[in-house]
Subunit: 300 residues, 2 copies
């Protein structure tokens, strides 16, 4: 039987989830502060009903908080007195430790919280870019707090699966450490490269020789600045650790290149061999990762 | 009238140029050390004739050196006594200062040299992946040495244009500085990120949450290790300078994130504002660059 799902926040993720869950037979209530967004969700088929007050959204089996991390705390405060017994609360925010703590502090015990994070996104934000297939084959982290209600975990897991994603159960701290490594560090290198290259004063002079390499390595710098600000604020410790490691690696490889011989003297030089081995090993590691990922993502 | 073009080295770039130049009405002689590669070039239509000795390749209007940078020096030595008066020599290597110096030292004055570098490539090397449209709309750097023969420059420029590319005349040092900024630094950040993330011991544990961001920011690390080794060897000074700048930017942004307040205290904090402004400015700079590039690349 279909669930009644209230999605609070109709951006790219909220809108895409609405499309996917309606296609899976659930009833979707969409809450957006701006009435135009709610109307757009109805037109697109991302919601069965659009409401403009939280009180109208809380008659639901599951309430999904689909706002940026920093907006979730206030949303929980406003939502708390309105939640009915048995309604499960989840979210789709990029980091999980703060959200989990706020849920413990602010939500009533009769509305169990289970965190969530679909590993999907685009550089284009907003409901206009919502896409019901956005989550297909992607990991959707399910983050139950300690002692979480098993039925609540199962209900959120079911929604992730029925959006086309692969649910992965993980603790909040493990989640935040993992995304610092695999996602937030990538964003920060992309931003820093963009700063070192695209934003430099003389970039116009060198831009004609820029190609797809620079475009792709800086792609994440075109993402939503507020989302990334919130990520830095709520995952500071893990991200700083990863950035320090990355900075040390940059210093090492700079030093290795600095000590290269003149090209005429290159054959047999140990620094040249080390560099060549490093490039070959990293190519092998990356190719193996992507091959494994393709195998995993093959439809069952 | 079509030219007779000898391409020495039938890899991705040599093969793709052969396809493009034959389509433009030129006669292409392909030289490859391995006879199987020459046969494959004939089958694919990337050459009119395949030869296995340099002596058979030098009866040409233009000789194109399409080997990795470090192989070019020996190739010039072997080629030098065989070159006929009036044959123009060019290359397609990733860096230009060393190639230009070797040409001055090794090639006879009766065979004028003009460097070249098409800004196109793929992670998949070899003639199997050759593609006659590889250069379409891309910049092809034309790098005349001081006092270069004007007719030779014009002949190489014509070939670049007839491969579908946009010729851009630039000096060897300016070229090498520009590609260090726009291309080689991107590769090194991609490699270093791959080292810091994909090659770490516990990557298997966090890999399930890795998405397209990590895939794209590490893409260049799957490129040809030998080509990149040669780039590091022949563009060491400019690349080290760019890596040092980049490393300083990484340290700065790490420090900025380290000094962020707790998220609950975030509104109004100057570090939070600075970070948000930085992300927004870089997004604007990148989006403006790519929009401008799209406008430029629109067919005339």
């Amino acid at each position: 039987m279909g669930l009644r799902v209230a999605i609070l926040g109709l951006g790219l993720i909220g809108g895409s989830a609405g499309l996917a869950w309606r296609a899976a037979g659930h009833t979707v209530v969409g809450y957006a502060r701006r009435p135009a967004t709610g109307r757009r969700a109805l037109e697109m088929g991302a919601a069965d009903e659009a409401v403009a007050t939280l009180a109208q959204a809380t008659d639901a089996d599951v309430v999904v908080l689909a706002l940026p991390v920093l907006a979730i705390r206030q949303l929980m405060r406003d939502l708390s007195p309105l939640l009915r017994p048995g309604t499960v609360v989840t979210d789709v925010a990029s980091t999980k430790r703060h959200v989990e703590r706020w849920a413990r502090q602010l939500l009533p015990p009769h509305a169990p919280f289970v965190g969530g994070h679909p590993m999907a996104g685009k550089e284009t934000a907003g409901i206009e870019h919502a896409d019901g297939s956005l989550f297909r084959g992607r990991t959707w982290c399910i983050v139950p707090p300690e002692g979480a209600d098993a039925a609540a975990v199962e209900r959120v897991t079911r929604l992730a699966r029925e959006a086309g994603a692969r649910p992965l159960q993980i603790g909040a701290a493990d989640h935040d450490r993992a995304v610092a490594v695999t996602s937030h560090l990538s964003f920060m290198t992309s931003v820093t490269l963009c700063q070192a290259v695209v934003a430099r004063e003389d970039f116009r002079r060198v831009a004609p020789v820029a190609g797809t390499g620079l475009r792709d390595t800086t792609r994440l710098a075109s993402g939503d600045p507020l989302m990334h600000r919130d990520i830095c604020l709520t995952n500071r410790d893990f991200l700083v650790h990863e950035l320090e490691t990355f900075g040390a690696r940059v210093a090492e490889v700079t030093d290795l290149i600095r000590r290269l011989p003149d090209p005429e003297a290159a054959p047999g030089d140990p620094a040249v061999d080390r560099l060549e081995r490093l490039f070959a090993e990293l190519k092998t590691a990356r190719d193996a990762w992507l091959e494994g990922r393709l195998l995993e993502q093959r439809p069952e």
